[in-house]
């Protein structure tokens, strides 16, 4: 079981490393979106501090959306997806590997860059730590839930927009608990409750989403 998951992760990471431009552009998208907000609402530090968690999280959702359509589309186009579906292990395990690989190249860079962007919004050190932790904990759920949407819209015209329409409403709990964790820290309530709910969401979606995505992929391959 771990053999196949690690084989998929290894292959996807190798492919991602040979196409680094994709990772870099998603990260810069994140940076640009976050940097646009102060320009839109003004530079008052109090206001920015209040908005920071929400802005960073919404930008993280959008940046994740950006890389989702390619999660299965490349493998579908060159026929590799058929081969993966025909391998003797359950397709859900393959998808688990792909989701983890997706997180490593999309969610993880966002978490690493988020504290720097938090500084632009004058967040305190505590808040920055919680923000990074929340993004680290929450983004795997984004990759997992997103995989379902990517599998359902595989090969459809207008797939990218449709994917956002399907997936963004399902992202709402992650957004609420993720941004809520930072909010609660800023207001002195402590973000542990939010963070543990976020972790629960991530575990639930990593357990459930790959199998739903696998079912969707089989439908798409018919």
């Amino acid at each position: 079981m771990f053999k196949i998951i690690s084989a998929v992760i290894g292959r996807d990471l190798k492919l991602a490393m040979r196409r680094q431009a994709d990772i870099v552009s998603a990260v810069f998208f994140f940076i640009i979106v976050v940097s646009l907000f102060p320009l839109g609402i003004g530079p008052e530090p109090d206001l920015l501090r209040k908005l920071a968690p929400g802005v960073l999280w919404v930008a993280a959702l959008l940046a994740t959306m950006l890389s989702l359509p390619r999660l299965f589309a490349d493998d579908h186009r060159d026929g590799t997806l058929e081969q993966l579906a025909l391998a003797p292990h359950p397709l859900g395990l393959v998808v688990t590997g792909k989701v983890i690989a997706h997180w490593l190249v999309s969610g993880l860079p966002l978490a690493l860059i988020a504290p720097v962007l938090g500084l632009q919004f004058d967040l305190s050190t505590d808040a920055l730590v919680v923000l990074t932790g929340a993004i680290l904990l929450g983004t795997p759920a984004l990759s997992g839930i997103g995989a379902i949407g990517a599998a359902l819209t595989l090969g459809l015209r207008g797939g990218g927009v449709l994917l956002s329409l399907l997936v963004l409403p399902l992202y709402i709990p992650v957004l609420i608990f993720g941004a809520g964790a930072v909010d609660a820290t800023v207001s002195g309530l402590g973000g542990e409750g939010h963070l543990s709910l976020l972790a629960a969401l991530t575990f639930a979606s990593l357990g459930f989403a790959p199998w739903a995505s696998a079912a969707a992929l089989k439908i798409a391959l018919e």
Partner: protein, 252 residues
């Protein structure tokens, strides 16, 4: 629910089509009867609310619409589960036939909510947990309809849509819970529709309106599923016979 068992036995479109045709007038009639009775009770008999005045009467539309919007989503998910488990053709058609009605109900609920909100809280929109959840439900309906519309192959559309419905139905409680949590944390104005002790006539009015909406939804869904059947099965003999009989009947 009894209705659904019947439908399940009549899962073949060729038998279901004429049955649905016979049932539709009944559901329409029942819907009109319940609707008139419910409106009479709600608009004329029910007492004026001492806090909210006459404006509260919109709940006779608002509450049943909200109920229906949630219930229809559950029914669609039920059809989706049947369809994915037993691979029946009718299930996908029923889910697709119900979706526009469900979306309409969600929209109606939001719209009447806004109309009600203006005199009550002085704002068209409040980020109340229920209204927000209803909005997200509307997004889910729209997502389902957009997905099934984007897939040309009907069989794949049914299956993919069904899977999305099941994913959605798992997520709806999580979304509702998180929105509620968010709402209490931010201490937004939480509005409880059933807070005020309700007069008995109000309750009856609401129930009758709910029945009216229920009958309406069934009637409209059956009409829509008949159209979908004709469209999808237009190359089969029974549809040709059906259409042939109709057109010759019209020519006479």
């Amino acid at each position: 629910m009894k209705d659904r068992f019947n439908l399940y036995r009549f899962a073949s479109p060729a038998t279901f089509y004429p049955l649905a045709g016979k049932l539709i007038p009944w559901f329409v009639a029942l819907s009109v009867v319940f609707g008139l009775a419910g409106l009479y009770l709600g608009m004329l008999v029910a007492p004026t609310d001492f806090q909210q005045g006459e404006g509260y009467r919109i709940i006779f539309i608002h509450v049943p619409a909200s109920w229906m919007s949630m219930f229809i989503y559950l029914v669609m998910a039920g059809w989706a589960a049947i369809g994915l488990a037993f691979n029946t053709r009718l299930s996908g058609m029923m889910a697709q036939a119900l979706a526009p009605t469900g979306a309409l109900m969600a929209f109606l609920s939001l719209w009447t909510g806004a109309l009600w909100g203006k005199p009550m809280w002085g704002a068209w929109w409040v980020w109340d947990a229920r209204l927000t959840s209803e909005l997200i439900l509307l997004f889910l309906y729209i997502g389902y309809m957009a997905l099934t519309a984007a897939i040309d192959d009907q069989r794949r559309a049914d299956k993919a849509g069904g899977l999305l419905l099941l994913v959605g139905v798992v997520n709806v409680p999580i979304i509702y819970f998180s929105v509620k949590w968010w709402n209490t944390l931010h201490q937004g104005s939480s509005v409880n529709l059933t807070k005020s002790s309700m007069a008995e006539t109000m309750l009856w009015g609401m129930l009758l309106m709910a029945l009216c909406f229920w009958m309406y939804s069934i009637a409209v869904a059956l009409m829509r599923v008949r159209t979908i059947m004709l469209e999808r099965e237009r190359h089969t003999d029974w549809v040709r016979a059906e259409l042939g009989a109709n057109s010759s009947g019209a020519a006479k």
